[in-house]
């Protein structure tokens, strides 16, 4: 760790970092610039790097164009509730798969993996019928409840993490008289924290950005989520580029804040090395 790096190697590393960072961030910059340009300026050639007259009220105009306050409330409910459910259920199931040897485990696990591969298109209509039968259409339930039963992707992810936690920890706790549930709750959940924050972030983003789910299962504008509103700036005959760009920037902000807060937990090496016991 303390080893000395050669100067050219370091220059190459930093060069690569800066170049890649620019590639990753430039589209955001361009979205921002697009959001605050007056429409005729969008097509000037060569393009202008910063608008001659920045239209900051494009943001307010985009927000006012639809009931985004209502959409925000719905998105927040879906995102928060589904994330809580996903964290509890997926970690529980992952623990079951990683730490128990029970008849049918391998079969169930293969089924779990297979479930991840089921194409969306064809379960959709039967699922719609089912939700309709339950009276859940045009409510937020179809977007929340399934998350409380775990998702294969997250279960698989957490299982891989739990498998890298030495079993000696479990054995020690067991000798101290802890029940399996206590071992899950008191030992594994804290150790899994980085992975859980990862799962929470992913689930948050999946719920926040979901488009097809809300489109299919919601009818009334008062139930819409933010992405449905965003998509309405794009219609058959026109795309309102400025409004779309402005709303894109606004929609990015909550996940951005979340990620910047969460990444400390995901990445903190002291936490990760905690896995090593």
């Amino acid at each position: 760790m303390k080893e000395r790096r050669s100067i050219p190697g370091s220059v190459a590393k930093w060069g690569a970092l800066v170049a890649v960072t620019l590639m990753f961030l430039f589209p955001f910059y361009w979205t921002l610039v697009t959001a605050i340009k007056a429409k005729p300026e969008l097509l000037t050639w060569p393009p202008t790097w910063w608008p001659a007259d920045a239209q900051w009220d494009n943001f307010a105009a985009a927000w006012a164009a639809q009931p985004f306050g209502t959409y925000l409330k719905n998105s927040a409910i879906v995102t928060v509730l589904s994330t809580i459910g996903q964290l509890l259920s997926s970690s529980l199931v992952a623990f079951g798969f990683a730490r128990f040897d029970f008849p049918g485990r391998n079969f169930l696990f293969m089924v779990l993996l297979a479930a991840m591969m089921v194409p969306w298109d064809v379960t959709m209509i039967p699922l719609y019928m089912e939700f309709n039968w339950l009276g859940w259409i045009n409510t937020l339930k179809p977007l929340i409840v399934p998350a409380w039963f775990g998702a294969p992707f997250f279960i698989f992810l957490l299982r891989q993490f739990i498998m890298s936690i030495p079993r000696e920890l479990d054995e020690a706790a067991k000798m101290d008289g802890a029940s399996v549930f206590q071992i899950y709750w008191k030992i594994h959940l804290p150790l899994m924290l980085p992975a859980l924050v990862l799962v929470g972030t992913f689930q948050f983003l999946a719920a926040w950005n979901d488009y097809l789910g809300p489109l299919i299962f919601l009818n009334d504008e008062s139930m819409y989520t933010l992405t449905l509103g965003l998509a309405r700036f794009k219609t058959l005959h026109d795309t309102n580029l400025t409004a779309l760009a402005a709303m894109t920037i606004i929609l990015c902000l909550p996940p951005l804040v979340l990620f910047l807060t969460a990444q400390r937990y995901i990445m903190d090496s002291s936490l990760s090395s905690g896995i090593k016991g």
Partner: protein
């Protein structure tokens, strides 16, 4: 039961009845968004005002309209009333309106603009025909031209009865390819439905009148001629090809004085007006004097067959076609002649060309999807061939021959 309870229970019963009457919700789905959606909501609000106890739930799905509608029908949970244009595809789940239309129904059917109603009639398997929708708004196709660009280049404005040769001559004078300024915009990825306008105007069509084959139509010399002309315009630099690897927003080009002429329906007009553009509207150019036929984009209203409240739905559809509601639709052309007249559209230079294009849409021409219920798959083949033509810009006849063979196969699926 003690007498005193009786009024209480009755009151409760009444309150319950009132509450359930209150809860009468009519679902109405539309593909409109932005300003056009606001118009739909205003019309729905008017209907609510006239029908106390009824709530109209306006459902706007924008780009996702077809997916959403298909899912709703598939699961038996469709809206009561919905925007509709593709009647053959949805025919089995739409309520035939002939029963309501028979006799005195409160609608003046003769007042509807000519040629609109046949678009909502489909032939049933037993040979009879059913009306599945009532038009609420429509548009034909016209040419928009940018007056400022014409003035600057010293080119006279287009006039009714002009030809594609006139159009091309004007486009050449307007174009400055170095500055990305063009006379005309060719859509490289058009909806084949809209594009058939040009085929009709050159004496061709996608498919035979009996809907059995595309061979001899899709690859007819007249069809090839149309494509050759557009390809020549792009190659000559007088026209920009959009929609192939571009956002295809001709509106912004037009508003930025980079596009002299564009052919479209009423859709971009509010945008041009909002941008304060100095623009004119003229009918479509003809192919060397042949009669011009524009296709028609119609927003009709249909009722779902399994709607629980068909009578209320019909009241709503009727209200949409009433002069009061039709007059509120500012973003397309009134379906009622009386309203168009009352609004002075027949003399307004920006709207008269839309009306003038309409009689051409009448007659024996009907769009391909009305001629064959399997057109959907064939249309994919056609759309692909059009892309190929604009990418290769060569070998048009061969591409169309191949497409005709594949489209015919798709029709039999």
């Amino acid at each position: 039961m003690k007498p005193i309870f009786r009024p209480v229970i009755m009151a409760a019963g009444l309150a319950f009845a009132a509450a359930s009457a209150q809860a009468e919700v009519l679902r109405f789905a539309t593909w409109d968004s932005n300003e056009s959606l606001e118009i739909q909501k205003a019309i729905a609000a008017k209907f609510e005002a006239a029908h106390p106890g009824v709530t109209v739930q306006v459902e706007a799905y924008g780009d996702g309209y077809d997916t959403k509608l298909a899912a709703g029908f598939g699961a038996g949970d469709a809206p009561d009333v919905m925007y509709m244009w593709n009647f053959p595809a949805y025919a089995p789940s739409l309520l035939p309106l002939d029963g309501y239309l028979a006799g005195e129904n409160g609608l003046d059917m003769a007042d509807f603009a000519a040629g609109l109603l046949p678009y909502a009639r489909v032939t049933n398997e037993d040979g009879t025909a059913s009306t599945l929708g009532i038009p609420a708004g429509y548009t034909t196709f016209v040419t928009y031209y940018n007056k400022d660009m014409f003035d600057k280049a010293g080119v006279p404005y287009p006039v009714e009865g002009w030809t594609w040769a006139d159009m091309r001559a004007a486009a050449v004078k307007l174009a400055k390819p170095d500055e990305k300024v063009y006379g005309y915009g060719v859509d490289g990825n058009p909806d084949p439905y809209d594009f058939e306008t040009y085929l009709w105007s050159n004496g061709s069509s996608w498919i035979s009148a009996d809907g059995k084959t595309t061979t001899g139509y899709l690859n007819a010399p007249e069809t090839t001629e149309v494509f050759q002309q557009f390809v020549d315009m792009v190659k000559g630099g007088e026209a920009v090809l959009f929609g192939v690897g571009d956002n295809g927003s001709y509106r912004e080009l037009f508003n930025a004085d980079k596009l002299g002429m564009v052919i479209s329906g009423t859709w971009p007009m509010p945008d041009f007006e909002a941008a304060g553009k100095n623009f004119g509207v003229v009918g479509l150019p003809s192919f060397g004097g042949k009669p011009v036929h524009s296709n028609v984009g119609i927003s009709s209203l249909s009722i779902a067959k399994d709607s629980k409240q068909p009578d209320l739905a019909w009241e709503f559809v009727k209200f949409y076609a009433s002069p009061e509601a039709v007059a509120m639709r500012k973003n397309d052309i009134p379906v009622l002649n009386s309203v168009a007249k009352a609004q002075g559209m027949d003399t307004n230079p920006k709207f008269a060309p839309f009306l003038a294009m309409l009689p051409g849409a009448d007659g024996n021409l009907s769009p391909a999807f009305l001629r064959n219920a399997n057109w959907g798959r064939a249309q994919e083949v056609v759309a692909e061939a059009i892309q190929q033509i604009y990418i290769d810009q060569d070998g048009i006849q061969a591409i169309l021959d191949d497409a005709a063979a594949r489209a015919d196969k798709a029709l039999t699926k």
